[in-house]
Amino acid sequence: NAGVTQTPKFRILKIGQSMTLQCTQDMNHNYMYWYRQDPGMGLKLIYYSVGAGITDKGEVPNGYNVSRSTTEDFPLRLELAAPSQTSVYFCASSSPGLGYYGYTFGSGTRLTVV
């Protein structure tokens, strides 16, 4: 009963490096999301997906890319990391088709770009 699993939990990147944040869910949820949370701020939507092969931009997509090849996985790619991408990243999933819009969140990835 893992829910939403994110890896890694912590990462330090140098400016200009790239990395992929992994997200896997085992609840067969169609909808998956990536949010970032900066200190003292709410969560801002980066990208979302309503099913395998379908992704769309959220509020703050610049500097990120996603893919959704399976229902379970929704990796977030950072290309050319910048200090402005220092944040805590949360992956979440939901199943609106059941009439429930609450999210199940992963435990987060704390990323520092130096």
Binding site: G42, L43, Y48, V50, S94, Y101, G102, Y103, F105
Partner: protein, 112 residues
């Protein structure tokens, strides 16, 4: 522009006090309003509200939605130190994507 505004941004109370957290929203094609509790890590779900005037309760926590005035409140009675957390309010907006727009949160600190 869609937005969710929470107040106060932070609050310090003593154990046993009752607190009220506020959330106002302007959300296109509003479907529901959700409350989450965030401690050290990921937010955990508290309530989802879709209808005006119907209170939802879970133990010492309760919440209600006013769709006419576009706000919701979260009440916590007989607060305990374990209630210390950031409480996030989120509006579900637009179509069928189930996307949420979050407020900045209210940081509640409960002192012994």
């Amino acid at each position: 522009e869609d937005k969710v505004v929470q107040s106060p941004l932070s609050l310090v109370v003593h154990e046993g006090d009752t607190v009220t957290l506020n959330c106002s929203y302007e959300v296109t094609n509003f479907r529901s309003l959700l409350w989450y509790k965030q401690e050290k890590k990921a937010p955990t779900f508290l309530f989802m509200l879709t209808s005006s005037g119907i209170e939802k309760k879970s133990g010492r926590l309760s919440s209600i939605l006013d769709k006419k005035e576009l706000f919701s409140i979260l009440n916590i009675t007989a607060t305990q130190t374990g209630d210390s957390a950031v409480y996030l309010c989120a509006g579900n907006y637009g179509g069928s994507q189930g996307n949420l727009i979050f407020g900045k949160g209210t940081k509640l600190s409960v002192k012994p």
